[in-house]
Amino acid sequence: MEIIYALAIGILTSSGVWLILRPRTFQVIIGITLISYAVNLFIFGTGRLFVGKPPIIDKDLPIDPALYADPVPQSLVLTAIVIGFAMTALMLVVIMAQRGLTGSDHVDGEGVKE
């Protein structure tokens, strides 16, 4: 499971990095989104990977930390997801404004040179 997980993060990050180095704003925003997914998965993974362990204490189970997943990374991921969404939405607005003002979707707002 760890290998698949790590590969998923790696592929997302590398695709994201490639995309943000592109000259079009749309590709940049998709790249940012992919990296933000990768980062969220990474944070989730830092709480260690478990299957079937709840992050909150179950009344019926005995009180033993080994039976539970670490809740802190999950709450961190939640915060990071919310912030990431908000920033992506804001960036989308900026991109649309830039497209409107410069008439180009180049990241520097320059016209496309054929």
Binding site: I32, R48, M87, A97, Q98, L101, T102, G109
Partner: protein, 547 residues
């Protein structure tokens, strides 16, 4: 608990509630928004001053361990809950933010808050983010407050719109988002290795890591440091800064002059807490010095090549970041006190410079193209009749505005370049004298580095004098064909007050420097900070009793 113990939370809560209230009041109630915005900054400044007196032990009846105020937000003992910590450094930064914010709001009421929507709420949110970042005692909340201040700064940067602002704003947003991702990666790695996010707890646990964990921890610190260096405008991570700061409107740029210092603050805070238990070389270490030198060089060269005056001031910001990084990268704390003094002086002087740039632009007739776009978009033209600038309507134009401007610019140049007799000179003098003291140490490498620091600082100061002096002569003496700019009291007042603040730290240099040196000492002895955090007990609920 006495009320003063609750003060830290107010410096976050006041701008938050005021900002939210302003969103509901909408832009139609601009006058009301201005007033409550100003009141909010007055309250924040009062809180900051009281806290500053408290942490320096000048208030009666406070029982803070080591004079550090720890505020447990959820009433959980450290290291489990979220907490705010006020020490000398935090209190100083709070006062700087509140004072600068107040002046920028006063300046913007003369024109710039009308160039777009939601100016005043965004300003409150940026102050909330800054205050929070300086107060928070754990790593993740540092990230959250960074994001709050960045989100507000994106909005403020785009204020006034126009193609130039939107393009440079886009670059700014992308770079800062990548910085945030790096910070998140670093924070989560640190959590996975040490199992804590509390800064004080981290300072203790960092020394107890096994070798394998140590490698991960250092990698995490590298991620974190890169993120902070992006915010601190370190070369080569500062390429976005010049365009972004130069294209934003004057009061916003003036407020931004403190934003690069948030990165410096984070490096200083995390670095000082990790230091005794063996910090990775990244914090307070050798390569911070090298990056600082690179930043200084880049800033000085950029400054020499520049013709646009707003971009010149942006390069001055890069130079001030470079000076701080280089000085803080030197071993020991000898340079920390003077660095903090330099930071305060340069933040004040550079914000004045940004405010002046805007007025100087008015002397050049062709420069108002950006403004005229927004004037049509937001109906500024109708509001104010036929004038190009609102100067005629708001307040009375000050006679001899050119003389005032020239004097202010001259003073500002002296401070930024570090020439006598103002605070810039004292700051640089203190830095250089401490550095020269370091050259007399036995260790060869230290003395070598200290001489390089001295050389770089002197040369960058000289370049600043040449460039700003040349600009001043060109603008104020050179040509008779310039317009006399319209200057309102609302614009002249903040400039004068900020310069007076520089004058204050010049005259009372011994008191101020003593405060800075105490701050440096307490940073050098993080046991005080850690002790204060862990000795703070949660309040017992009188209804339930001890828990």
């Amino acid at each position: 608990m006495p009320l003063i113990d609750h003060l830290p939370i107010f410096s976050i809560a006041i701008p938050m509630f005021v900002g939210v209230l302003m969103v509901f009041l909408k832009d139609k109630r601009r006058k009301l928004n201005k007033s409550i915005g100003l009141l909010s900054t007055v309250a924040q400044l009062t809180i900051a001053v009281i806290l500053m007196l408290g942490v320096s032990g000048k208030l009666e009846g406070i029982e803070w361990t080591n004079n550090i105020n720890v505020y447990l937000l959820g009433n959980w003992d450290a290291p489990y809950g979220i907490l705010l910590v006020v020490d000398r450094l935090s209190a100083l930064m709070l006062a700087l933010v509140a004072g600068l914010g107040m002046m920028c709001i006063i300046y913007s009421t003369s024109l710039w808050d009308r160039a777009g929507v939601h100016y005043h709420p965004l300003f409150q949110f940026i102050m909330m983010g800054l205050n929070g970042a300086f107060l928070t005692g754990d790593l993740f909340n540092l990230f959250v407050f960074f994001e709050i201040l960045l989100a507000a700064s994106y909005g403020l940067l785009l204020h006034g719109s126009g193609a130039k602002r939107v393009s440079s704003g886009f670059h700014y947003i992308v770079v800062n988002m990548l910085g945030s991702f790096l910070m998140l990666i670093g924070i989560s790695m640190i959590y996975s290795v040490t199992g804590t996010l509390n800064l004080a707890d981290l300072g203790m646990k960092a020394g107890m890591l096994s070798e394998n964990e140590r490698i991960l921890f250092e990698a995490a610190c590298a991620f974190l440091a890169t993120a902070y260096l992006i915010k601190a405008a370190a070369w080569p991570l500062s390429f976005w800064l010049i365009n972004a700061y130069a294209s934003s409107v004057a009061p916003v740029a003036a407020m931004f002059s403190i934003m690069t210092k948030v990165g410096i603050y984070a490096l200083l805070r995390v670095g000082s807490l990790l230091l005794p238990t063996g910090a990775p070389a990244g914090f307070g270490g050798e390569w911070m010095y090298l990056i600082g030198l690179g930043t200084l060089f880049y800033g000085a060269m950029g400054l020499l090549a520049e013709k646009n005056i707003a971009r010149m001031v942006s390069y001055c910001i890069v130079i001030s970041s470079g000076t701080l990084l280089t000085a803080l990268g030197m071993p020991g704390v000898a340079l920390t006190g003077p660095s903090l003094y330099y930071m305060v002086s340069s933040v004040l002087a550079l914000s004045v410079a940004f405010l002046l740039v805007e007025i100087i632009r008015r002397t050049e007739v062709t420069q108002h193209s950006v403004l005229s776009i927004t004037q049509e978009a937001f109906g500024l033209e109708q509001e104010k009749g036929s004038s190009d600038y609102s100067g005629e309507v708001v307040g009375v134009p000050i006679p001899a505005s050119m003389a005032f401007l020239g004097l202010a610019f001259f003073t500002c140049t002296l401070i930024v370049a570090g020439l006598p007799p103002f605070s810039g000179f004292l700051a640089k003098f203190a830095l250089l004298s401490q550095a020269i003291k370091l050259t007399q140490t036995e260790i060869g490498e230290v003395s070598y580095n200290a001489w390089i620091l001295v050389g770089f600082m002197l040369v960058s100061g000289m370049i600043t004098v040449i460039v700003l002096g040349r600009t001043g002569i060109r603008v104020f003496w050179g040509s008779g064909t310039l317009n006399t700019p319209k200057l309102t009291t609302r614009e002249a007042f903040p400039i004068a007050i900020l310069l007076c603040a520089c004058l204050y730290i010049t005259i009372f240099v011994s008191d101020v420097m003593a405060y800075m040196n105490y701050t440096a000492e307490s940073l050098d002895n993080p046991a005080q900070y850690i002790g204060a955090v862990f000795e703070k007990r949660s309040v017992t609920n009188p209804l339930i009793g001890d828990h």
